[in-house]
């Protein structure tokens, strides 16, 4: 009896609240523009998925405060996609059930890969703000637009840092620099290595060693000994965190020194790595924009940080929020220009956007390649670790706040 009463009450409460929601959305329907947002907000990817979502959300709040799009307020219909199955079904649901005409997301490459596929099939434009895997924009999709830098940019920029910054400083040309490429052998490492090799060939830098290894290994001394035998001037290393720590510690043990050592994001971007090594000054890295960057090249960055802190009462956890904030702003501009959510108008408007580098909060420009939908004016930045275990921007020169230190200190010079 009691249970029945309780369930009656519960149902009543649900009906009433549903009624309110219904009334609410009816009243507002005329003034809001709804967009589907797909992010991993639970599960393994949640930590950075949430940080990414925050960026897109901040752009929305800011846009609405400035009058929204076409004078209407923007609203996200948020879907949680912790894995690829969920990404597929949530994209379907947003498009067919919730009738979304535009989607955004996702932070993770595997999620983006399937979600964009569903969107393309339904002729719904999809703006990807954070996933870097190249194939996402290599399938010839008409309605997929990626605002951030792709993975191929990492290897490319790593070689440019060596060729354009390190070589001249040491009185060498790129052709004098013997390069070694070391990488963990999953898709991440092999992609970065492939593009590093291609760029090295383009600038005529000889590759003297090309060493893949499993990221789960307990011992990297064979790899380091082979590198030592090849005697390179510079190393480009793609690693997750465990192998990045192991490599550095064993390189120290075996006295393997080079003039320039460039990481590819991943483990080399993490504070856990820096803490494990101690003195990391002079280690180079390539990654998305960091907060230590020339503010004249990234107008609006300080405002973003302030908006973030005001909204979430804490500083940004990582640059993921920033690139999503940037991406959402680009998307709003495309919408404004298109005048409606019609897929072809959105496409036309997106392709016509033309912003040079150095004028946005990330420093990235906007120019979508009509064939791929990739923003060709977004490339990762060259970074350098400081003694205080912070990363400062060194490349491109217009965005730099510090000068490269080459040759980097040897292990012996670092002492303990």
């Amino acid at each position: 009896m009691r249970i029945r009463l309780m369930s009656c009450l519960a149902i009543c409460a649900m009906v009433v609240s549903l009624g309110f929601v219904g009334a609410d959305s009816l009243a507002e329907a005329a003034e809001t523009v709804k967009i589907g947002a797909i992010y991993p907000l639970s599960g393994n990817l949640a930590r950075l998925g949430e940080e990414s979502y925050r960026g897109a959300e901040l752009a929305r709040i800011e846009r609405n405060a400035q009058g929204g799009v076409w004078g209407k307020q923007v609203e996200y219909v948020v879907a949680d996609a912790p894995d690829t199955n969920a990404a597929r079904s949530e994209a379907e649901r947003l498009i067919t059930r919730s009738n979304m005409k535009l989607l955004l997301g996702t932070y993770s490459s595997s999620l983006a890969y399937v979600a964009t596929e569903v969107a393309e099939r339904n002729r719904v434009p999809f703006f990807e703000f954070g996933a870097i895997s190249d194939p996402i924009t290599e399938r010839g999709f008409k309605y997929t637009f990626r605002t951030c830098a792709p993975a191929s940019g990492f290897g490319t920029i790593a070689v440019r840092v060596i060729a354009e910054l390190a070589a001249p400083k040491m009185g060498m040309t790129p052709k004098d620099i013997k390069l070694a490429i070391v990488y963990e052998d999953s898709l991440y490492g092999t992609t970065c290595a492939k593009y590093a090799k291609a760029e090295a060939e383009r600038v005529g830098m000889p590759v003297v060693a090309n060493e893949p290894y499993s990221a789960k290994t307990n011992d990297l001394s064979p790899v380091i000994l082979k590198l030592k035998a090849a005697n390179p001037d510079a190393v480009i290393h793609t690693a997750y965190i465990a192998d990045a720590i192991l490599f550095s510690r064993q390189a120290k043990e075996l006295d393997f020194d080079v003039k320039a050592y460039v990481g590819q994001g991943g483990g080399h971007s993490m504070l856990d790595w820096a803490k494990a090594i101690g003195d990391v000054s002079g280690f180079l890295n390539v990654d998305f924009p960091q907060f230590k960057i020339n503010k004249a090249y990234t107008p609006g960055l300080d405002e973003f940080i302030k908006l973030y802190e005001d909204t979430y009462k804490e500083p940004p956890h990582s640059g993921h929020s920033l690139v999503n904030y940037f991406g959402a702003k680009v998307m709003f501009d495309a919408m404004e220009k298109a005048g409606s959510l019609d897929a072809d108008k959105i496409r036309e408007a997106a392709i016509s956007l033309d912003v040079p580098e150095g004028q946005t909060c990330t420093g990235w420009g906007v120019k979508f390649d009509p064939k791929t939908g990739q923003n060709v004016r977004a490339l990762p930045y060259g970074l350098m670790w400081t003694k205080d275990q912070e990363q400062v921007t060194i490349y491109p020169p217009e965005a730099a706040v510090a000068e490269i230190i080459v040759p980097m200190p040897t292990w012996r010079e670092r002492g303990q």
């Binding site: 060493e211 893949p212 290894y213 499993s214 789960k216 290994t217 307990n218 011992d219 001394s221 064979p222 790899v223 000994l225 082979k226 030592k228 035998a229 965190i241 465990a242 720590i245 192991l246 510690r249 064993q250 120290k252 043990e253 075996l254 006295d255 993490m270 856990d272 790595w273 803490k275 494990a276 101690g278 292990w411 303990q416």
Partner: protein, 296 residues
């Protein structure tokens, strides 16, 4: 230059072998006595490494100094596991015991993830990158300590089993459970002792490995698979075999890693399969029939 590099590869291999031996000794001891494969062995190592980390983090205890405490802690955890999980399942089929230890392993991983997050934690010590150099050859000090620790542990446990009354009782019950019980060996106590000892070994390993590696919730899986290969190679249940097996796998990994890196894992799993096919009792194994997990 080539010969120098080759000798350095050998040194690295032997030192890596010491690390594998360190982890395998406890596993083989537990298997030899209780005939249970502890799939949570890697997670016990993970716990020991976390304990070492926290002792260093909060009280500044050097991981080498914490080894005794770690051994005691892990002894208790091991004995409790035996009493609480394995003992009630002793008469169940082997597959049940395997499920139980696999379950324990997954549970421990997730508890660690919940309590300590997925961060990679490392210890910074004054000696961690110091080394002994002979000409151009380098021997990393922490790796040398791990190697010496593994060797000392092998000798101590071997001596204990051979020469003490308790050790003999443990061996008796390992050889014939029924007969040992008939002559008055307390089976429950000996099993708890053996499981505790095996776990204490991995406690020592945790302290000795912390200056070399890092700890995170699934670090155990990086080592436990190799430890199984080592145990099979050395002969399941054989302490000296675990030491020798560790060194062999370390050498195989270093040499194949240097000359045929792409096949590194393939090489030692090929060895694993060959041993299972042609000498299932291992190099020093206790003889045919002993390799089975089956219960009477």
């Amino acid at each position: 230059m080539i010969s120098y590099t080759f000798i350095q590869v050998l040194i690295s291999g032997v030192l890596l072998g010491g690390i594998y031996a360190l982890i395998s000794i406890g596993l083989t001891l537990i298997f030899g006595v209780i005939k249970v494969i502890n799939f949570a062995h890697g997670e016990f190592l993970m716990l020991a490494m976390y304990f070492a980390y926290w002792m260093w983090h909060y009280w500044g205890v050097d991981p080498y100094a914490s080894v005794i405490v770690l051994a005691a802690l892990l002894f208790l955890i091991g004995a409790a596991t035996q009493r609480g999980i394995i003992q009630p399942l002793l008469r169940s089929p082997a597959s049940m015991q395997i499920f139980a230890t696999v379950g324990l392993s997954v549970t421990l991983q997730n508890v660690a993830l919940f309590l300590w997050k997925a961060d990679y934690r490392t210890i910074q010590t004054a000696y961690q990158a110091s080394k002994i150099t002979i000409g151009e050859l380098a021997i990393g000090y922490p790796r040398l300590v791990a190697f010496v620790g593994a060797t000392a542990m092998t000798i101590i446990i071997f001596w204990f089993l051979k020469n003490t009354f308790t050790g003999r009782a443990i061996r008796a019950i390992a050889q014939d459970r029924m007969a040992a019980m008939l002559v008055g060996v307390n089976q429950k106590r000996m099993y708890m002792l053996a499981f505790g000892l095996g776990s204490a070994c991995v406690g020592v390993a945790g302290g000795l490995l912390m200056p070399i590696y890092y700890v995170f919730p699934t670090v155990g899986t990086y080592f436990s698979l190799t430890a199984f290969v080592v145990v099979v190679l050395g002969g399941m249940g054989d302490i000296r075999g675990a030491w020798i097996g560790g060194i062999i796998i370390g050498l195989v990994e270093a040499i194949s890693g240097f000359y045929v890196p792409a096949l590194k894992e393939a090489v030692y799993f090929a060895i694993f399969i060959l041993i299972l096919l042609f000498r299932p009792s291992g190099i020093l194994g206790l003889g045919r029939g002993f390799e089975e997990v089956a219960q009477e």
